[in-house]
């Protein structure tokens, strides 16, 4: 679920950091700019793999910072379609489940992708799989195995779109409806999928 990507970028090192070795100064800036951020249509950058090449170090007029042209590699989280991943069940709602891999929380299992037949228990606010007469509750914080259906990248809404938003979308970007740049849609409809305790030997 992780791949290595090679990137080239102009890195701006602040004047106060110029006393450090170029590699260290550049690494600090790359950490702030890339790590834990989503590169559109690629994935979530998890960590820096290595720095390959640093060139330049030019200081432009009116700007005391030095610009380096750096080639470096980062590790990107990008599961492929059909991959099996184990995560922790974070929350249940009418629309489905939300699974968390500690560093990535936007895995969604829509209600139509649950084991057949599953029902939403209003009192417990949990999904239940009725298998062979047994009620298998999907308790929170349980390890859950799912298959990746698709990886969706949402473009960041422009201020214009936010202004013209209607209804639910008006809350986009607030805690009521947080914006996720990358979503993994999964399914647990199949043998071996769902809570790991259901299938443990």
């Amino acid at each position: 679920m992780f791949l290595v990507t090679q990137i080239e970028d102009q890195i701006r090192v602040l004047p106060q950091d110029l006393t450090k070795a170029p590699v260290d100064a550049v690494t600090t800036v790359i950490e702030q700019r890339f790590v834990d951020k989503v590169i559109p249509n690629l994935g979530l950058v998890v960590t820096i793999y290595d720095v390959l090449n640093i060139e330049g170090g030019f200081v432009y007029p009116n700007d005391g910072a030095a610009f380096f042209k750096v080639q470096f590699r980062v590790v990107v989280f990008r599961p492929f379609v059909g991959e099996i991943i184990v995560g922790k069940l974070k929350s249940c709602s009418r629309d489905g489940l939300r699974v968390s891999l500690d560093f990535f929380d936007d895995v969604i299992i829509p209600e139509h992708a649950l084991q057949d037949p599953s029902f939403y228990d209003e009192s417990e606010r949990l999904w239940v799989w009725k298998f062979d007469g047994n009620d298998m509750y999907m308790d929170l914080q349980e390890p859950i195995r799912f298959r990746v259906q698709s990886v969706k990248f949402n473009p960041t809404p422009t201020p214009q779109q936010l202004q013209n938003a209607t209804g639910d979308d008006k809350l986009l970007g607030t805690a009521a409806k947080p914006f996720s740049p990358m979503e993994v849609i999964g399914d647990i409809n199949g043998d071996g999928l769902g809570l790991t305790t259901w299938w443990a030997g």
Binding site: L3, V4, T5, Q6, D9, D36, I48, I84, F103, G192
Partner: protein, 135 residues
């Protein structure tokens, strides 16, 4: 920003663990909180952390079955313990592996890749024993 090579290589969870350790996720290191979360997720899986050579050895054990890169990667990441899990990972399992194939895969995984879960029973016992000794 230019993506020179969007896909240089796919890496295994254990290789990422090595990278994160080098980045300093352990106490006193200078890793970022998100890197620590990634390390926490990977370390909590019941999978042994193999080095590069151990990984290639594990893959060579299963050479005879012509598994694809993705399938080998998933076997090393997930360490299946039951036949159901192997069926999930390997496409068309019945015709390609058959029952003995699945047995061989499970045996290879149990020998090389599987490890006891880090949290739960093992730790509780450990803590209990330590508590008694300290007193």
């Amino acid at each position: 920003m230019k993506l020179l090579q969007p896909n240089v290589a796919v890496i295994c969870n254990c290789e990422l663990l090595q990278v994160l350790t080098e980045r300093g996720v352990h106490l006193g290191g200078r890793a970022l909180p998100s890197e620590r979360m990634a390390h926490q997720y990977l370390a909590s899986q019941p999978v042994r952390q193999l080095s590069g050579e151990q990984l290639t050895e594990f893959f060579s054990l299963l050479e005879a079955y012509n598994l694809s890169q993705g399938e080998l990667l998933q076997l090393a990441n997930l360490a299946p313990r039951t036949p159901v899990e192997v069926h999930l990972i390997v496409a068309d399992c019945e015709s390609r592996l058959g029952d003995e194939g699945v047995e061989t895969v499970l045996a290879a995984v149990a020998e090389r890749v599987a490890a006891e879960p880090a949290d739960g029973a093992a730790e509780a016992e450990g803590e209990g024993a330590n508590g008694m000794q300290e007193e």
